[in-house]
């Protein structure tokens, strides 16, 4: 049992507060303008999405290609709650998270019996179904999308949600339940024979990931005014998966860093729109085949050894 007020936790808290205050200060003194803030918001949303998908794919080993669908469900829930019904943001966020988590139970219950590629295909199908339903749902604007969502997402909301996501998921992983979840990834058969209820934990983790993806969706909807079903298609799910894989399956810190790095890469490519996706594809390919991100790990280890 680790202490709540250990030295490490103290350092982490100080770090978190420093980051929060620095950005707040920079915003107040106009160093961060609205364009920079927009990028900050998409990085933050990507961090939440990546960490929550890492719980499903990285820690539990359940291969999901439909994470954007939960984000979409969250975005639409919060959009309808805040724009159509005029409710406050906190209701939008909680509603988004709960509806997404419920969808996670609904889809996870039957499909999580599948393994590996088959689960990936089923979640891909689920994502497409959600997108097509959105395209044909007239109340929420159909293919035109949902407009005039009030802008509630501020730095404080964003940062609070990131911290909550990271703290909850990392504590979950290091708990009794987290060990059960990791044992499922290592060897499902063995962990079942040790008495771990694999299907219960898989659905639990799936709906937890969906819960946080729903929050990310709410933040997205209430920042960009406007959402449409095509923003949450297959490619968005792939983007999230790419962040998780590059950061390392089962590494929360890695997910956060790679969310930042990949967002910066795609930002720096915005100057050449015609070649942007081609270069992005090449970078992806190089990272998968030659794994330069592993060199950083090696570098860090050698530095540590010498120190």
């Amino acid at each position: 049992m680790t202490k709540l007020f250990s030295k490490q936790n103290l350092y982490k808290t100080i770090f978190v507060i420093t980051v929060y205050l620095t950005v707040m200060l920079m915003m107040n003194s106009d160093i961060i303008d609205s364009y920079l803030f927009l990028n900050l918001v998409s990085i933050g949303i990507n961090i939440i999405l990546a960490v929550s998908l890492n719980l499903i794919t990285g820690f539990t080993g359940q291969f999901s290609l439909g994470h954007a669908a939960f984000m979409s469900i969250g975005a639409y829930t919060s959009g309808i709650l805040t724009a159509k019904l005029g409710l406050p943001f906190i209701v939008g966020i909680i509603g988004a998270a709960l509806v997404a988590a419920f969808a996670g139970v609904l889809i996870g219950g039957p499909t999580l019996r599948l393994k590996g590629d088959y689960l990936a295909i089923a979640t891909l199908g689920f994502g497409e179904i959600v997108r097509i339903i959105g395209l044909n749902w007239d109340y929420a604007g159909g293919a035109m999308g949902l407009n005039d969502i009030p802008r509630y997402t501020t730095w404080t909301w964003l940062f609070a949600m990131i911290v909550i996501t990271v703290v909850v998921i990392s504590n979950f992983i290091s708990s009794y339940n987290g060990r059960a979840v990791i044992s499922i990834k290592e060897d499902e058969l063995a962990s079942t024979s040790m008495g771990v209820n694999a299907s219960y934990y898989k659905v639990l983790v799936f709906s937890m990931g969906a819960f946080f993806a729903g929050i990310a969706g709410a933040l997205y909807a209430n920042f960009f005014y406007f959402i449409k079903p095509d923003s949450f298609g297959f490619m968005k799910s792939v983007d999230i998966l790419v962040i998780v894989v590059l950061g390392g399956l089962g590494s929360i810190r890695g997910s956060i860093i790679s969310a930042i790095v990949l967002s910066l890469i795609s930002l720096s490519l915005q100057g050449i729109p015609s070649l942007r996706m081609v270069i992005y594809a090449v970078i992806l390919f190089v990272m998968m085949v030659y794994k330069p991100q592993k060199w950083f790990g090696k570098l860090k280890r050698t530095i540590r050894k010498e120190a």
Binding site: P110, I121, G125, V245, V289
Partner: protein
């Protein structure tokens, strides 16, 4: 009655295209267990090659089809050598993301070279309407050509996999890779042949899609790619007759749903069937069960 026959022919010709693409998915999956997401984009490349040959160089249909198949086959082999071979034996997820990267590369690379706008295929097949005897249904003769071409390609593939040495080594490899290697089968070469055949079929399908729908664009591969993939899974991924069956099945269901007035939801229906099939019989309708050993 006329409408039924007409929809039936439409469904079969659409389904035969799906089946043709699904064959490539299924062959690749059977042999290296990789969902080749770039497969739909090879179809797109095939459609553009066909377009360039027929519209710019005035080739007749059949040579254009064959050249497109050849080029796409080679493209498939190159993609395998460059992108997938280094990851052989690595993690599934990296291979899958690499496949998606290749797909993006083909889509946006093509867009960079030919521009994002759609292009219109020349009428290379006679587009006359024919009456089906006795029923009064009028069908486009194009659909009949498409069905004839796809069915003969499928028969050719069936012949290759069942009767030739290459086909035998392909089947052996998908059955048990280590054992096949011990028997002296050249794994790399067999994988190359598989990619060549699968991609050549996708190239042929690309030309046929171009002829059938008459417009092409650099992102056109995504939808038939996904649909073909769904067909492959419905029939049982890794099983060659299953892909053909899945293709026809999906084509028929889609035309049925459209003709009943649900054309907006036809894609959703396809994925719903996919999920249902996965839940009821994950190995596909024509698949066999593999028990997990402890």
């Amino acid at each position: 009655m006329e409408r039924i026959v007409q929809q039936l022919i439409n469904g079969i010709s659409l389904g035969s295209i799906y089946g043709l693409v699904a064959l490539g998915y299924t062959m690749v999956y059977g042999i290296i267990n990789l969902i080749n997401f770039a497969h739909g984009d090879i179809l797109m490349v095939g459609a553009y090659i066909g377009f360039a040959l027929t519209s710019i160089f005035d080739f007749p249909f059949l040579p254009a089809l064959l050249i497109s198949m050849l080029v796409c086959g080679l493209l498939g082999v190159i993609i395998e050598k460059v992108a997938y071979k280094p990851l052989r034996g690595g993690s599934r997820i990296s291979a899958l993301i690499t496949a998606i990267a290749v797909s993006l590369f083909l889509q946006y690379g093509m867009m960079y070279f030919v521009g994002p706008e759609s292009r219109t295929y020349k009428d290379v097949l006679p587009g006359t309407q024919v009456k089906v005897f006795g029923t009064g249904a009028v069908i486009d003769i194009k659909s009949l050509y498409i069905i004839a071409i796809t069915v003969s390609l499928m028969l050719l593939l069936q012949f290759i996999t069942k009767k030739t040495k290459v086909g035998k080594s392909m089947r052996a490899l998908s059955e048990d890779r280590d054992a096949a290697e011990l028997m002296g089968i050249n794994v790399s070469r067999t994988i190359s042949y598989t990619f060549f055949m699968g991609s050549a079929l996708a190239g042929a399908a690309g030309v046929l899609v171009g002829v059938y729908y008459s417009t092409i664009n650099p992102l056109m591969g995504a939808t038939p790619g996904l649909k073909a993939f769904v067909s492959a899974v419905i029939g049982g991924i890794g099983i060659i007759p299953g892909a053909v069956f899945g293709g026809f099945f999906l084509g028929m269901v889609e035309t049925l749903v459209s003709s009943l007035g649900g054309s907006l939801f036809k894609d959703a229906v396809a994925f719903l069937i996919l999920i249902l099939v996965l839940l009821i019989k994950p190995t596909g309708l024509m698949g066999y069960k593999n028990n997990e050993k402890v």
